[in-house]
């Protein structure tokens, strides 16, 4: 794959095949941690960091451990363990060496283990047979798409804090309907063929 193709793939992963609005990967943090724009951005950054690194690590695990021994069917178990260990490791590493980034991402890091966006990007990389560079670029781009979605959504939600909806719609239903409207806006990318 040439550089142009990699760039197109990244563009497509950010907008056309957006993880939230086209694929529904990572909806739990998207709906849960989007009350305020700055916390949403923090979560997005943490996800970007973990997804880029986990893209590289799970690619290596699959290529050098699972495939040579014919253990492809264990990929779900192996990937979730790698991701859990990686999150723990990144947390320890950041606390020791980059305390500023650690305090910024701190509380969001442990939540990422059960974020299905991370696991699904690892599985998609294997499914699409990406090379190492493509795997890292795909993980990064998909995470940027997630960050974009959650930050825009948090901006919308912070505007609605003072709205006065009917009692039954208060809280989660209104959040979902707002997400639906935003998904409608994003669906204009779905026709784009790259």
């Amino acid at each position: 794959m040439s550089i142009g193709n990699v760039l197109l793939m990244m563009f497509s992963a950010v907008l056309v095949e957006n993880f939230i609005f086209a694929k529904f990967y990572g909806c739990c943090p998207f709906l849960g941690v989007s009350e305020k724009p700055d916390t949403a951005l923090g979560m997005g950054m943490a996800v970007t960091f973990v997804m880029t690194v986990s893209g590289a690590v799970t690619w290596a695990v699959y290529e050098f451990l699972l495939e040579p021994f014919g253990l492809e069917y264990l990929k779900t178990v192996a990937f979730i363990l790698v991701i859990a260990a990686l999150v723990q490791f990144i947390e320890m590493f950041l606390r020791k060496f980059i305390p500023a980034l650690y305090s910024a991402l701190g509380i969001y890091l442990p939540l990422i283990t059960t974020n299905c966006a991370v696991l699904s990007s690892a599985l998609l990389i294997v499914q699409n047979d990406y090379s190492f560079v493509e795997a890292v670029c795909f993980g990064f781009a998909a995470a940027i798409g997630f960050t974009l979605a959650i930050t825009v959504f948090a901006g919308l939600r912070s505007r609605m804090r003072h709205a006065d909806p009917p009692k039954a719609f208060k809280g989660f239903p209104l959040t979902l309907i707002t997400a639906g409207l935003l998904a409608m806006a994003f669906s204009c990318f779905s026709g784009v063929k790259l």
Binding site: F24, L81, T114, C116, Q127, A183
Partner: protein
């Protein structure tokens, strides 16, 4: 026996994992484009939930407290892999339609939440019943959403045409935007029902208190008459 029926009802209605606890949103939004997919997804997750609850409950005295989450995830992902292989062997079209969402059952919060909140603290039999109740509750919610989406978005249910020929399908309901909105309106309806039920209960207790007070006053009056 009664206790178990109550537990089942709890999972299916009162404490429905999707509609009341608001857990496991990714599969709920993604696999409800058709009733068939929703039913398949619900049953796959139910199978994993029952097995994982059973095993976590059996092992609850042996799993060290510090690494329990990791242990739960390993147990759950083992069963997910088994379900994935079984589905590939026996329900290939469903396996293809659900795609990545079968391995993603591993990170479904409902399963981890039940492991942590119930199976790790309770004996085997109640844990299995809890798995059945919560799993069926999840399936019920998925099918409910899928019925609305498939009916409005394609005019069919389980592929059989329900709407008249003249009905123009509202494609938005099978697109992602429709998923968010349908779920939003259904949860709003559930909240409305719960609000009304709570209000009724509150009014009933007020009424009861007033009644008690009245009878109390009446007896007092009678006593007064006697003394006079």
């Amino acid at each position: 026996m009664n206790k178990y029926l109550k537990q089942l009802k709890e999972g299916l209605l009162d404490n429905n994992p999707t509609l009341v606890q608001l857990l496991g949103m990714c599969p709920t939004l993604a696999t409800t484009t058709s009733v068939e997919n929703a039913f398949g997804m619900g049953l796959a997750a139910t199978a994993v939930l029952i097995c994982s609850n059973l095993f976590i409950s059996l092992l609850r005295k042996f799993i060290p407290q510090q690494v329990r989450i990791a242990a739960y995830i390993v147990i759950i992902s083992g069963f997910v892999t088994a379900v994935e292989l079984l589905m590939r062997a026996y329900f290939y079209s469903l396996y293809q339609a659900l795609g990545l969402f079968i391995p993603l059952i591993v990170v479904n919060c409902i399963i981890l939440a039940r492991a942590e909140a119930f199976a790790s603290k309770n004996p085997v039999l109640p844990s299995i019943v809890d798995g059945v109740g919560m799993g069926l509750g999840f399936t019920f919610a998925l099918v409910l959403i899928a019925v609305v989406r498939e009916l409005l978005g394609a005019g069919t249910i389980l592929g059989i045409r329900i709407m008249p020929e003249a009905y123009e399908p509202m494609v938005i309901f099978v697109l992602p935007a429709g998923a968010f909105m349908t779920l939003g309106f259904i949860i709003a309806a559930v909240q409305k029902i719960r609000n009304t039920a709570e209000e009724k209960k509150r009014l009933a207790t007020i009424e009861e208190n007033r009644h008690l007070k009245q009878t109390h006053e009446e007896t007092n009056e009678e006593e007064e008459v006697v003394t006079v």
